[in-house]
């Protein structure tokens, strides 16, 4: 097998498994709802991984991007506009514009300060959303209906929605993958490894980083559009720093070495959470212990397990 294909095998297998899931006994409503939630969060996690793993920009405000997408759905829904052909581009543009405005300031800082300044912008978005009295304020807003696609009620069918989520996730992953492999992605990685050296070669990292930030934000907006449609409800809680933290934990849990890490991390995080919560009332204790153990014993995350096993076997 070509090495390039082998490197992508985990992500492709995972996406194929998700596409096949309804036919393998995971077709009932509850399971599809759970999988849709996991896949949409995975979309946001993949876009965040583009920033964390690709550009070294650890954002603690990525949920705000999803929030902008979700609130675009809400505001248009309130105005009576529900056609995805209008709503989705608006959601993407809104999140991208927010990313552009805040990124232009945030990217001047680095390291922990970048984490904190993105947290600050995320909190501003959160409090703004909770002050939108016309859209439910703190209590949130229930959509009249899911968006339709050129008049077709495509998103209402569970199975159709499942495949739309699979497709959106695959597209996000593919786009991120192509970006990272391109010349643009190589500049990003060079600037992550050694900003001074990248600058000496004539690449000012700022525009590259800002572009990556806006692209990731736009992807987050698309995920927010799907999330609003999946739950048919939007609340400021979607933008809370806890949600941003969760997205970041998914990325780290999966491993930041490749985008497939975020896929694995997000699916693992959501499914493990769901499974544990049915086992014991105080499941968070087990979940916390598992996270700690994962960090202590899996330095490269879940996606690093095969390489780690291979190293042990070789010894």
């Amino acid at each position: 097998m070509l090495p390039a294909v082998r490197a992508e095998a985990p992500a492709i297998l995972l996406l194929a498994a998700l596409a096949a899931a309804p036919f393998l006994g995971f077709g009932e409503g509850y399971m599809l709802t759970l999988l849709a939630r996991a896949m949409i969060l995975a979309m946001a996690a993949v876009s965040l991984s583009l920033l964390v793993g690709g550009a070294g920009l650890v954002s603690m405000g990525h949920a705000a991007m999803m929030g902008f997408g979700a609130y675009a759905v809400v505001i248009l829904d309130d105005m009576g506009v529900t056609d995805a052909a209008i709503v989705l581009p608006t959601a993407i543009a809104a999140a991208g514009a927010f990313a552009l405005a805040t990124g232009a300031i945030a990217i001047r800082t680095s390291g922990v300060h970048f984490i904190m300044i993105t947290l600050a912008f995320g909190q501003m978005a959160f409090f703004t959303a909770s002050s939108l009295a016309g859209y439910g304020g703190d209590d949130g807003y229930t959509l009249y209906s899911r968006s339709d696609v050129l008049g077709l009620r495509l998103l209402d069918d569970r199975l159709a929605f499942h495949f739309i989520c699979v497709g959106a996730l695959a597209l996000t992953w593919l786009l991120g993958r192509l970006l990272l492999a391109s010349r643009f992605g190589r500049v990003l990685r060079a600037a992550k490894g050694n900003p001074l050296r990248a600058q000496a070669l004539g690449f000012d990292p700022f525009p590259y980083r800002l572009t990556a930030y806006v692209i990731a934000g736009a992807m987050g907006g698309a995920a927010g559009f799907l999330f609003a449609n999946a739950t048919e409800f939007v609340a400021p809680a979607y933008i809370s720093w806890q949600r941003s933290g969760e997205l970041l934990f998914m990325v780290i849990l999966g491993g930041v070495a490749g985008l497939h890490g975020a896929l694995i991390g997000a699916l693992g995080f959501v499914l493990l959470e769901e499974w544990l919560s049915h086992q014991w009332e105080h499941w968070r204790i087990l979940f916390g212990v598992l996270l700690i153990l994962a960090v202590l014993f899996l330095p490269n995350g879940l996606s690093g397990i095969p390489a780690q096993l291979a190293r042990v076997a070789r010894r």
């Binding site: 001047r108 904190m116 912008f121 409090f127 968070r284 960090v295």
Partner: protein, 307 residues
Amino acid sequence: MSTHLLLIQGLNGLQLGILLFLIAAGLTLVFGVMDFINLAHGVQYMIGAYLAAWIAAGTGSFWFALLLALPLALALGLLLEFLVFRHLYDRDHLQQVLATFGVILVVNQGVKLLFGAAPLQVPMPELLSGGIPIMEGLLYPTYRIAIIVGGLATAGLLWWLVERTKVGMLVRAGATNAPMVAALGVDINRLFMIVFGFGAMLAGFAGVLAAPILSVEPGMGDNLLILAFVVIVIGGIGSIRGAFIAALLVGLVETLGRSLMPDLMRLFLSPSEARQVGAALASMLVYIAMAAILAFRPAGLFPVRAG
């Protein structure tokens, strides 16, 4: 009337700032000296409050609770250090964030398991209940004054420890360049343990102090932790002086903003809108301040490390 209100809110802001400082002091030292991001620092604050609630319920005395909770908070902090944190010092920041988030989940839920999810009340000590007249016709709760005085005294003690003792000198050196301190023959692991234990105890102290005026509940440390992070970033990581000034600033902005913003907004908006927009703006103020400060001074107000 409005000067009364301003005075009361100013004192409340000062008191929040003092509590924030007690939490942020440990956080900034652990971060500055050990380069360790400890999200679970807010947990130490909660542990302090729960220990106070537990001991006060058993013995009926707040003072006894204060006396016993401090060494117990220290011991629990060191236990966590031994079990988890010690293994994370040489990992990168992302892994520290994930693992300490795990610790938050475990301790928050553990507290719920042991004490239930309902908030606990801690009775105010007899001696400090009641109020002190600070202006004509204006009483301010004695206990809140006591927090301010106790907190300021602790800040003074901390200043003396860091600026005037040998251990403090090592801590300051560690905040500037830890590998160099280790290379000079200082047992850096012991220094780390002292810094960590002391930080945990200070946060626990803040928890004990806050217990009688706030409800003691699982997760009570999480939101304060975010504010404490704002404080140490504004103040400059590793700087006690920066943390002190930033904590008072954040405490005052947060409290005064909450009471003044809705009134201010009423000048432009209808009353109901003003209340909603004002509350949102007030919550945002701290973050706006942080973003503005970071945009112009990316290393905070009092940077310790050059570059």
